[in-house]
Structure formats: structure tokens, C-alpha cells
């Protein structure tokens, strides 16, 4: 009887997305971390926060964005909670936009996640620029390259998210 209270389908879906987040973190921290092009690494995790909100709605976007952001901040090793704040916002925004304004197509997701990646890079470089007083040209170039290297990851993130959202978890 207690089992009737629990929506097992949603619980299963939550576990699936949690696994998806862990896989994305693994790719970011173990694979992309080792690949530097012109001294810059990709950072595609904002797209992961966006994809959950995009397919599952704003509430799921906020919850999983928070989990992702928390792990992301820990993995980055920086003394910030920047992503813990930023990722839920991205998840929420993606959910709201697809609920009211956008279609759930690749191009719409590309626009959302590309914007998320740009904002993520901007937030990261802002601290370096303002507090460390680093050379603005070099900082902006690093931010630009980070966005550029991260952009191709939008496609696998979209197709993975789409596939997960279509999974039949009723059984």
C-alpha cells in the first residue's frame, strides 16, 4: 500500500538523470580535463543542466541543476558556489522557455545551451578579470576558446537527453 504513494516512474527517472549527471561529470573531469587545445579546456556542463530542464520542465531543471552545480563546484576545486547557483537557474530557464515559448527541437536547445555555456564562461572569467586583474584580452580569449571547445558537446548532450526523456520507465 505504501508503494501506491510513490510514483515509481518518476523515482526511476530521477535515478536515470542522476546517473546521466554522474556520467557527464565523469566526461568533464576525466576526459575533457586532459584535453587542452591552445591551453584551454572545454566546459560543457551548463548544457547538461539545460537539457534536463529542456525535456523535463523547470522544476526538474532546478533540482538536477542544483545537484550538478554542487558537484561541479566541488570538482572545480575553487572556493565558490558559482555553479551551485548558476546551474539551477539555467535548468529553470530552459524549462520555462520550452514550456511557454520554444519547441523541443535541436536548434532551440542549441540556442539555450550555447547561451548557458557563454554565461558560464563569462561568470568564471568575471572573477578573474575583476579580482585578479588579469590581462583582459587573454582572459576573454580563454573564455571564447572555452565556449568554442564546449559547443560540439551540445549535440551529444541533446541526443542523450532526448533519448532519456523518451525512455519508458513504467515497468
Amino acid at each position: 500500500m505504501l508503494l501506491d504513494l510513490i510514483n515509481l516512474q518518476k523515482v526511476r527517472r530521477a535515478f536515470v538523470y542522476f546517473g546521466f549527471i554522474l556520467a557527464a561529470l565523469l566526461v568533464q573531469n576525466s576526459i575533457l580535463d586532459k584535453i587542452e587545445i591552445l591551453g584551454v579546456k572545454a566546459m560543457f556542463l551548463p548544457a547538461v543542466a539545460a537539457v534536463i530542464g529542456f525535456f523535463e520542465g523547470g522544476v526538474w531543471g532546478v533540482v538536477f541543476g542544483l545537484v550538478l552545480g554542487l558537484f561541479c563546484d566541488i570538482g572545480m576545486g575553487e572556493s565558490t558556489v558559482l555553479f551551485t547557483v548558476f546551474m539551477p537557474l539555467i535548468g529553470f530557464a530552459a524549462g520555462v522557455l520550452t514550456t511557454f515559448f520554444l519547441t523541443k527541437r535541436l536548434f532551440a536547445f542549441f540556442i539555450i545551451s550555447f547561451t548557458a555555456i557563454i554565461i558560464g564562461a563569462f561568470l568564471q572569467l568575471f572573477g578573474v578579470l575583476v579580482i585578479s586583474g588579469a590581462d583582459p584580452v587573454r582572459v576573454l580569449l580563454t573564455g571564447g576558446l572555452q565556449v568554442l571547445w564546449s559547443t560540439p558537446m551540445i549535440f551529444p548532450v541533446y541526443y542523450s537527453g532526448k533519448r532519456l526523456s523518451e525512455l519508458d520507465l513504467s515497468k
Binding site: 554542487l70 563546484d73 576545486g77 539555467i90 530557464a93 561568470l123 568564471q124
Partner: protein, 269 residues
Amino acid sequence: MLALILAVALLSGLAISRSEGEATTLKDASMSLSLPAKQASHGIVGWLEGIYSYMFKYDKLVEENESLKVELAETRRALREAEAANAENERFRELLNLRSKFSSFVFESAFIIDRGNTNWSRIITINKGEESGIEVGDCVIDSCYNLVGQVVELGTGWADVRSIVDADIRVGVQVGEGGNAAMVEGDFALMQKDRVKLSRFTDETQVLEQDILLTSGKGGLFPSGLTVGVVESVHTEAGGQVEYAVVAPGCELGALTEVFVIKDFSIVE
């Protein structure tokens, strides 16, 4: 909506970003929860790297072993000479009634459990924190007394160390034979090449390539005499005045697994 996201994230991020000292409760709790996973993954990665090294780097290791044997022989010879010079020095000290040089460190050994993986900083996380008596500002070295960095934030069972190549690092150093004062400063562009900048020279300071830089000990944060790095290249202005030098750190940041936190020190020059 975009402006709202940007504003909220920016304000929150800036409010807490790049803070130093005691970790926030949220971060401390999440770090404590993730520590076992980090330590386990670090152990697995180390084990895999060990197997890889054994399988594919055997010849290189044999070659390195041979060159180290030669280096050891040379070092032993230098040590014998140094012992004689030391004895002579001791006699002169007694004659002139001078106090002996003395340095004493209180160490805490720790393992690196995480390396921050961003384009914007070089922070490493170690597996010891406030429970071991480590404090913010403590200096971290490797087994050869090369400066690794400085503790910037800590909690229970972990501490974040700003590495020597981070863009925000500042260390007072002595340059060359004259021991003139200068400053090693992190530089964002050089950080991406794992290098730092030597600047703020006095007029009489001469900087040459291959000069070894030692901590000056001024300011009291770092003990004097730790190796910071070696001058790799010197950049001069049109008039010949040295503008800055690029320094390669003494420690091998990428290869480090164990470090030592200097919790307390006393030095008599």
C-alpha cells in the same frame, strides 16, 4: 530572463567567489561527503597510472635510473666537500662568536586528492584539514623543499591549496647570488603554461636564466630558503632594463601525489 539569471548568478558568485578562510557550511558538508569518493578515485587512477608506467615507461625508467646513479655519485662528492666546508664554517663561527643558522619546521604530510580542473585557477585539494592543525596561509612544499603553494581554504579532512602557478599567488623571493628581493607573481597567461612571473626588482637586481629563486621569508608567511623555481627566460625593455622573468616552478605539479604542510616554523639566520 537572461538578464535575471546573469544578475543572480553574478551577484551570488561574486559575493562568495574567491573567498579565503573557513569554508562555507554547504561546501564543507559537500566536500566531506565527497571525500571518500575522491580518495577512492584518486587511488584507482594512481594504480592504473602505475600499471601504465610499468608497461610502457620501463625503458625510460631504466634510463632515468642510470642518470640518477650518476647524479647521486656527483651529489655524494659535493656532500663530502660540503662537510669539510661546514666544519670550517663551524670553526669560524666559534672564533667570531656567531649564532648557528637554525631552522625548524612542523610538518603535516598530506596526499593530493583533487586537482581543480578549470581554465581559471590552479587549486589542488589535499586530504588533511583543520583537524590536523592546518591553518589558512600555511605553506605547502614537496619532499625536496620546493614550494607547492599556500592553503587558502579548509574544512574537516580537506584543504584547498593555491598552487605556485595560480594567477593569484604572491611570494617574496631572493634572486641570484646577491640575494636581492623580488616578487614571484602569478600571471593568468603564464598559468596556462604552468609558469609564473618574476617582477618588482630593485635597480641593482641582476636576473639571469637558470637563477634559482628562494623564498625570502619576508612577511612571515613563508619560511626563507624554500625553492620557488628556476628562471627560464628574461624579458627586457628596449633600454635593457629587465622587465620581468618567466619562472619554471621547482616542484612538478602534475606529478605530485604527496605534499607537506608547514604548520609552524622557526628560523635563525
